[in-house]
Symmetry: C2
Subunit: 338 residues, 2 copies
């Protein structure tokens, strides 16, 4: 199943077969020979040996996909899915590595990928660390969910617009007040450790609130954006009364908030609307379905591959729109209802 065997079957030289099968433009092979070669290749089921081809051309048609530990877990497997689909469409495969967020492991992974001749590397991360530079030995690079230092293109969710979307959705449903923010407190000083994307999400929320001349009825920061904290925060907020909408900074917080609302004897969305971010698996499991601004993981993964395959993209930030997934957790506030 090598070129040599096809050549023998077609009665030509190896080089001729190579030229024909690669549609080499400046080759002078007669139509008849060409036909014989193509037929022979087909009959023998010839498939080029990618290893040999890579050695010769130093193009492997393979990309590395490097992620910190979290990416492969639930959260961002979507990035991998999207990247995988896009890669296959272009004839590429993905060689994957996990770094557990450790610099030494990342170094090692990059080196190993380089040894294997990858044509490019996608760096995917859960948290948008600020430092997105990697010593990639000249291999083209794209960052996903990870703001770069300028060297490489970064694919990021458009968190600012997403933040605005969430607020606008509440406003359009009729909410003009009684909105509480679960997970962040704008009155507190900005924590330096907060991810870049989260900060943008905050900014979008603040801007859209301001655009409508609104203020939060209540707001509370949460150290961890976990159900437990969402439950506690929402509970406190509901006790004070006058809250008709909970804007939660992610679905896990919203999950906790749901429980607090239920426990308080209130109904979603009749008494309290809930909206959040991420479109986690939880969002579909909850009853009623949680309306949430989705992180477009698959699309981000696909765009990463495109940035790698399309030549010479300028090093920029690609902001991917965050679509809102409307389910059943947002309605008009009680006061506004007939």
């Amino acid at each position: 199943m090598t070129l040599a065997e096809v050549a023998k079957a077609a009665g030509v030289s190896v080089g001729a077969v190579s030229q024909v099968l690669n549609d080499n433009p400046n080759s002078r092979i007669s139509p008849e020979a060409r036909a014989r070669i193509v037929a022979a290749a087909r009959d023998l089921g010839y498939r080029p040996n990618m290893i040999a081809r890579t050695l010769r051309t130093s193009r492997s048609h393979t990309f590395g996909f490097v992620s910190d530990a979290v990416t492969i877990t639930r959260f961002a497997s979507g990035i991998l899915r999207g990247a995988l689909a896009a890669a296959r469409a272009e004839g590429y495969f993905l060689l994957i590595a996990e770094t557990a967020g450790d610099a030494r492991q990342e170094e090692e992974a990059i080196a190993s990928l380089a040894d294997r001749g990858v044509d490019g590397i996608v760096f995917a991360a859960m948290k948008s660390r600020s430092s997105g530079t990697h010593a990639t030995r000249g291999i083209p690079t794209v960052n996903v969910n990870l703001a770069g230092d300028g060297g490489a293109t970064s694919i990021l969710p458009d968190e600012h617009a997403g933040g605005r979307t969430a607020v606008r959705t509440l406003v359009e449903a009729g909410h003009r007040g009684g909105i509480a923010l679960v997970g962040h407190d704008f009155r507190l000083p900005v924590d330096g450790g907060i991810a870049l994307t989260a900060r943008r999400r905050f900014a979008g929320i603040a801007d859209e609130m301001a655009a409508h001349g609104l203020d939060f009825t209540d707001q509370q920061a949460c150290a961890d954006w976990q159900p437990e904290q969402g439950y506690a925060a929402a509970r406190r907020m509901l006790r004070r009364g006058s809250v008709t909408a909970l804007l939660c900074l992610n679905d896990r917080l919203a999950f906790g908030a749901y429980q607090a609302v239920t426990e308080a004897g209130l109904r979603i969305p009749e008494d309290v609307s809930v909206i959040s971010f991420d479109d986690d698996e939880l969002a579909t499991a909850l009853r009623p379905g949680l309306t949430t601004v989705a992180i477009p993981h698959e699309r981000m993964g696909a765009l990463a591959i495109e940035a790698l395959t399309s030549p010479a993209e300028p090093a920029v930030e690609v902001l991917v729109p965050m679509p809102i997934h409307v389910r059943a957790s947002v309605a008009a506030p009680p006061a506004a209802r007939t």
Copy 2:
């Protein structure tokens, strides 16, 4: 950064360098030359070109990881994680492909992996289809979560033991009756479309119940094992009363059951114990934490790689124990409490 450059630096031939760096046992290189070579390689930061090595030796130190669509999503990314970690420990990388469960795509993926010279292929699936044979062109194969037809080793969760574990946990907590089964009805004929692993889970549950001389107070099959069905089933069961434990066939059903219990004004675990299977992300999000019999995804992935790296394993089923993750949803039944 090639062997040739190291050779020149050390003042020896390329072959000598190769022999030394590979610890070739039947090579006769003097300790002095050996030292010079090692030093030169270190100083120059030499790393072997895997492509060339693969071409020469036809061993790529790369495995293919082929999954149906679902595997990369939430459910079994653990398999990938485990496989990845185990592979790296042995110096292997993973080349991944998705088939969407489609035979043609699988065919194509296998061919492409073969073109790239993978040393083995892991087939991972969400549902344990019965047919686990693949045309792998002589490439060693392991099935994960996928019962093979005999040709290849299959790594499967020990569902029978897991089923027994779930029941035993309830019994040991003091439950001697009032147990309802959410998701299956033993009185109904067996549906042929049900996955093999699910059937074994059923059998384990039935065997352990029988071992304790117990019968289900209630049981209900669910077409989809989704929260919605779990909610509906649990609701009906609780209405009839006398139910003190809900044995749910997966965490999503349990999720729905939680809501039904809460709505009925009952508490978990004081009034009703809940136990289930999978150890989904949901299990940690729920309050109180859901006690569940886990599918050991990571371990399964790791074992798959081991089966590939350890030579000449006989083709068998490897049954991986399902550990129970005890959280807070199981307690003694009300009647048994002081």
